[in-house]
């Protein structure tokens, strides 16, 4: 990190994060003024009002400009998913956020405008009266649980970003086109198209509104950039430092040019990128796409013509990391539990194959990794696409960043990701251009988008099956009557009952998804992101009004599937094969949460039954069958956007709150305990064969039908010491992907974790450490050895901490 980046990075650490209402105020004023206009035009005018009037500033040392909120490190109130109640604001104030008393007062007035107008109230209007759907959304089977008609989905958000939202879409826009063509080109196209519209049907009128809204927003974006050009020019006049004076002059020139016109240099492309990125946020899932691909021509030209060095490029990449760190995000209490901390997934996809199937890695791919190592901020994140021909050098570079302990990059396998698209009818060349959006879900830049992502807590369905369709804690019959426990004569009877219940609830969720999609479509059209999709102007439709070339509008996500697989394996073995426990005894043990001597013994037997993650077919094949059932069933439900539901499998942090709601499970888990993380990871502490056994288990699940899967592994730094160690890890990754694994990421366990494991061994049953090539579960080691390992970890991490 050079001095500039160090100074910029230092400014990220603030005592309190300011909550800002300026954007919310501008939006509300505009909405009040435009009542009666078509929704998309109102939203366009809203954005223009924000971009023309919100406070803009350029901070010292900045090279890439464009503030994300009206105050440094601020978060603007974002009302798309609900407004902020006083109670929620009070909770935030206790958690390190600050708001001025005047703003707090004004917020209440502003909130009034949205009474009954939010996305949630629109959904609640339909859900509340429905006898099937209301108990379903209340159950929390899809997070978070609804409490009352007007209060679902966990309340409001506050985020950085100047765009319209709503944020929770998984999508990638066509950055290459914007950087190379500029916004004027889109404006021109829209103007021409507007003259060509013939008013012969309803769509043509809607198209007019869409095109007009694109014109309003894009012109506003250009004026927004101009405001920075003006500001920089003004600052340049006052600046006395000659170096900074020159920088400000360059900023002014650049903002005058982009994003209106095509970028000509790497620097212009970076600035153009950032302005556009500000327009696709607030969004915790905004994706940069294949950054190393579309930025490469600018890089190459600059290097060839001597305009920039790798050092200059690295500095800019690091400045961009800092910029992304300013895009903070906080949500209401219930969602904070679902996605803890300031979670966001601004994903940069690098590496992989070209559309022709050749290795796409270039010098910029390496520099992006270097920037993450040199400027180790948690965001933006990076995902490395790996294919057969990915070079050892590139794998080593990526693993060195992993070793630095910043939790990135994640690795994904081109083979299974590309298969997902090809098997769904996408042309191979298009499929090869996939990007990662959100945490790990794949999308095609400009050609697909996912707008509804349900986190479905599968173990709740197992509980309900055990109670013949009754939700045990409420006593309500919310599921099907699939038979009392004693009626199941064989394991297959039970499995069949579970699958019927599961399919029933999945269908309810599909309905819920459609209600969500249509509420989004009607209430929150976004002309900006819509215009950056393929053939947007010709189509003349917002992105939820059209069926995309690849249609994946809604995905369904099973959380805790591994707990269900392990549970079923235990039941199969103990109840139906060995007959050492009856279903009735098991259910009593679960109801008692395993307490009592007899029940503790049953728990021991359950724990000793085969578990997923040990390369043991007994449990692995059950897991494989469940995931297959999930994928096939998901695809039978249509979406309101003209496609079918697709399966994905990432739990993010939903296994925490999901576990809290779930009673004891037959895999030996206690009530309330966290569920298995990821979706391909074994339950914590249930694997004893190490990384290769986990991978062997994971490849028994057909992952190709899934839009994403997730496998977490933990390593102690000593497993990544030498170049040889890293090459071995690289071959582990490549083997997984060769056999159609989708994703793997590594946590390098730090000293704090080890200390916590000493204090709370029960929470760290799965923590494996290596001592001179010898592995052991950390909590099983004697105190002296633990101390030695802690000392070593500290030492290992010191080397990279600066």
């Amino acid at each position: 990190m050079n001095e500039r980046v160090k100074k910029l990075k230092q400014r990220l650490y603030v005592h309190k994060y300011p909550l800002c209402i300026e954007k919310f105020r501008l939006i509300t004023k505009s909405l009040e003024k435009t009542e009666g206009d078509p929704e998309i035009l109102r939203r366009a005018k809203t954005l223009a009002n924000v971009l023309d009037n919100i406070t803009v500033f350029i901070e010292d040392d900045e090279l890439i400009v464009g503030n994300v909120a009206s105050k440094p490190m601020g978060l603007e109130i974002d009302h798309d998913y609900g407004t902020w109640s006083q109670e929620e604001i009070d909770a935030l104030k206790e958690e390190g956020y600050t708001i001025s008393p005047e703003d707090e007062e004004e917020l209440k007035t502003l909130n009034h405008y949205y009474k009954g107008k939010s996305l949630v109230s629109r959904m609640g209007e339909i859900l509340f009266d429905n006898e099937r759907l209301w108990p379903f959304v209340q159950s929390g089977m899809v997070l978070p649980p609804w409490k009352s008609k007007g209060e679902g989905s966990g309340g409001g958000y506050a985020q950085g970003g100047m765009g319209l939202g709503p944020g929770l879409y998984l999508m990638g826009i066509d950055f290459a086109k914007i950087l190379n063509d500029g916004l004027y080109k889109i404006i021109e196209e829209a103007e021409e198209e507007l003259q060509r519209v013939k008013y012969i049907d309803a769509d043509s009128v809607k198209k007019t509104y869409f095109l007009k809204s694109v014109l309003i927003t894009h012109k506003a974006i250009i004026r927004f950039a101009d405001r920075f050009a003006d500001l920089a020019a003004e600052m340049e006049q006052r600046e006395t430092n000659a170096v900074r004076k020159q920088e400000l002059e360059r900023i002014a020139e650049t903002c005058r040019r982009v994003p209106a016109k095509p970028a000509r240099t790497f620097y212009e492309a970076m600035q153009s990128f950032w302005f556009i990125f500000l327009m696709i946020t607030p969004s915790p899932t905004a994706a940069a796409g294949r950054f190393d691909q579309y930025m490469y021509p600018f890089y190459k030209k600059d290097i060839a013509e001597g305009r920039a060095t790798d050092e200059d490029v690295l500095e800019l990449l690091e400045c961009l990391r800092i910029k992304d760190m300013q895009l903070n995000r906080v949500s209401g209490k219930l969602n904070r539990q679902k996605n803890s901390g300031m979670a966001k997934w601004h994903n940069w996809t690098i590496g992989g194959v070209t559309t022709e199937g050749e290795d796409a890695t270039n010098e910029l791919s390496y520099l992006i990794l270097e920037a993450a190592k040199d400027c180790p901020t948690p965001h933006h994140t990076i995902t490395v696409r790996v294919h057969e021909k990915t070079s050892d050098d590139f794998m080593l570079k990526a693993l060195e960043v992993v070793k630095a302990g910043v939790g990135m990059p994640a690795f994904i396998g081109d083979k299974s990701y590309i298969n997902f698209f090809v098997n769904n009818g996408v042309d191979l060349r298009d499929a090869r251009d996939y990007i990662v959006t959100g945490c790990l879900d794949a999308n095609l830049p400009g050609k697909s988008r996912t707008a509804s992502i349900a986190m479905f807590i599968v173990p709740l369905v197992l509980e309900i099956t055990f109670h013949n369709g009754v939700e045990p804690r409420s006593g309500r019959q919310i599921g099907l009557k699939t038979g009392a426990l004693e009626d199941f004569q064989t394991f297959d009877d039970l499995l069949e009952a579970f699958k019927s219940q599961l399919a029933y609830f999945m269908e309810l969720n599909a309905e819920r998804d459609n209600i969500e999609l249509i509420a989004n479509q009607e209430l929150l059209p976004d002309p900006v992101r819509s215009s950056f999709m393929v053939d947007a102007i010709k189509e003349g439709k917002a992105l939820l009004d059209r069926t995309m070339p690849f249609e994946n509008g809604a995905v369904m996500n099973p959380v805790g599937m591994i707990n269900v697989a392990d549970s079923l394996a235990a039941i199969k073995k103990l109840v139906f094969e060995e007959k050492t426990v009856t279903m009735k005894q098991l259910q009593e043990a679960l109801s008692a949460n395993w307490s009592g001597e007899e029940f503790e013994e049953i728990r021991k037997m359950c724990l000793e039954a085969p578990k997923y993650g040990n390369d043991d077919d007994y449990a692995d094949l059950i897991a494989g069958d469940l995931y297959k059932f999930w994928a096939e069933t998901t695809a039978t439900f249509a979406t309101a956007l003209g496609g079918k539901h697709l399966p994905t499998a990432i739990s993010i942090t939903a296994h925490g709150p999901g576990g809290e709601m779930t009673g004891a499970t037959p895999d030996g888990r206690y009530a309330g305990e966290v569920l298995a993380d990821g979706t391909m990871s074994p339950m914590r502490g249930m694997d004893s064969g190490g990384p290769t056994a986990i991978i062997k288990s994971a490849v028994k699940i057909d992952q190709d039908p899934y839009q994403a899967t997730l496998l977490n592994m933990k390593f102690h730094p000593s497993a990544l010491e030498s170049r040889e160690d890293l090459l071995k890890l690289s071959s582990l990754i490549k083997t997984y992907f060769k056999f159609s694994g989708k994703h793997i990421q590594f946590n390098i366990v730090d000293r704090a974790t080890l200390l916590d494991a000493q204090a709370h061994p029960e929470k760290h049953r799965d923590l494996v450490v290596r001592v001179a090539g010898y592995s052991a579960y950390f909590i099983q080691l004697g105190r002296a050895v633990q101390e030695e390992i802690i000392g070593r970890a500290e030492h290992d991490l010191q080397g990279v901490a600066n």
């Binding site: 503790e600 013994e601 728990r603 021991k604 390369d615 064969g689 190490g690 990384p691 290769t692 056994a693 991978i695 062997k696 497993a719 010491e721 030498s722 040889e724 160690d725 090459l727 071995k728 890890l729 071959s731 582990l732 490549k734 083997t735 060769k738 056999f739 061994p761 001592v771 001179a772 090539g773 010898y774 592995s775 052991a776 099983q780 080691l781 004697g782 105190r783 002296a784 050895v785 030695e788």
Partner: protein
């Protein structure tokens, strides 16, 4: 012809994803039984050929479930923990099956070569990609030579690379049984001086030195020399100098050397077996010291790395 798969032996662990026991990703089989008693031994559970009860006091809840389970009444509660009278214990293992807290574990399993091979073969896809394979370790694998030869032979038939981690303390005819199925030897040199070697390990080193020379020159088997660096015991500059000279002159400069710094993993294991460790006191070597020792090998033209 004997049925290789049916040959039985005693092992105490099969460890997957071993990355410091030879090239590539390996599966290491830890075999029981060892003729040496190295003071610093990190796997004391490997010494005996018998089953042993491993007891982790931190995990014992003192519930007493194991007391009536023990057929000879060798367990009683002491300071809230279920303590085994090791003089009475016959390692039948019944107590390990009733313990609800994973405080009692059985060390040592009697298995057939076929079963071990199946576990090794499970990771074949990883060997192929990484250039890895199977490693027999211990204990001293040559202590169960027929079993070792059977496992290795099954690996060779399946096209899996094999390595043998050995102290080299075995008669030549024993070695000859096993060597045909070994692709690589990880050969320990613990001390150059015969009487010091005797003190540290319980046996002299003449046989070991002869063996390594014969293996390398006569049998033309690739060898990696592994030297545990135990401060206060074998890390003197003189001994390291002598070791380097032995490797360079008696074997050859192309033989790689690994320095394995001492660590304390063995200590808590002794505790858990209720075994009094041998009188021994050392600390892990400093990085500076390891560098210094490394230089000695380098000055003899040898390729040396720290760690396996």
């Amino acid at each position: 012809m004997t049925n290789l798969s049916a040959v039985e032996g005693m092992i105490f662990n099969v460890q997957h994803y071993c990355i410091h026991d030879g090239p590539g990703i390996r599966t290491t089989v830890f075999m029981k039984g060892c003729p040496l008693r190295c003071l610093w031994c990190q796997n004391p559970e490997s010494h005996s050929m018998c089953h042993q009860i491993f007891f982790t006091a931190e995990k014992c809840a003192g519930c007493g479930k194991c007391i009536p389970a023990c057929p000879i009444g060798a367990i009683h509660i002491q300071d809230g923990k279920a303590v085994t009278n090791r003089n009475l214990c016959q390692s039948c293992g019944v107590c390990t099956t009733v313990c609800l807290h994973e405080a009692r574990n059985m060390m040592g399993t009697r298995v057939s070569a076929g079963e071990v091979f199946n576990k090794i073969e499970q990771d074949k896809i990883f060997y192929e990609e990484s250039g890895g394979g199977a490693t027999l370790s211990g204990g001293e694998p040559l202590f169960q030579s027929e079993f070792a030869a059977s496992v290795l032979s099954l690996c060779k038939k399946a096209g899996i690379h094999t390595a043998l981690e050995t102290s080299g303390y075995a008669r030549w005819d024993i070695l000859q049984l096993v060597l045909p199925y070994v692709d690589l030897l990880l050969f320990d040199l613990k001390h150059m001086d015969p009487s010091e070697h005797q003190k540290c390990t319980g046996v002299s080193n003449e046989l070991i030195k002869d063996n390594v020379i014969r293996i390398y020159h006569q049998q033309k088997k690739p060898v990696i020399i592994r030297i545990p660096v135990i401060p206060g015991y074998n890390d003197s500059l003189e001994n390291i100098e002598a070791t380097a000279e032995f490797v360079a002159c008696k074997l050859g400069a192309s033989v790689p050397v690994n320095l394995l710094p001492f660590h304390r993993l063995g200590e808590s294991k002794n505790e858990r077996m209720g075994v009094q460790g041998l009188l021994f006191n050392s600390i892990p070597p400093s990085e500076q010291h390891l560098k210094e020792l490394k230089e000695i090998f380098v000055s003899h033209g040898l390729t040396v790395q720290i760690g396996g």
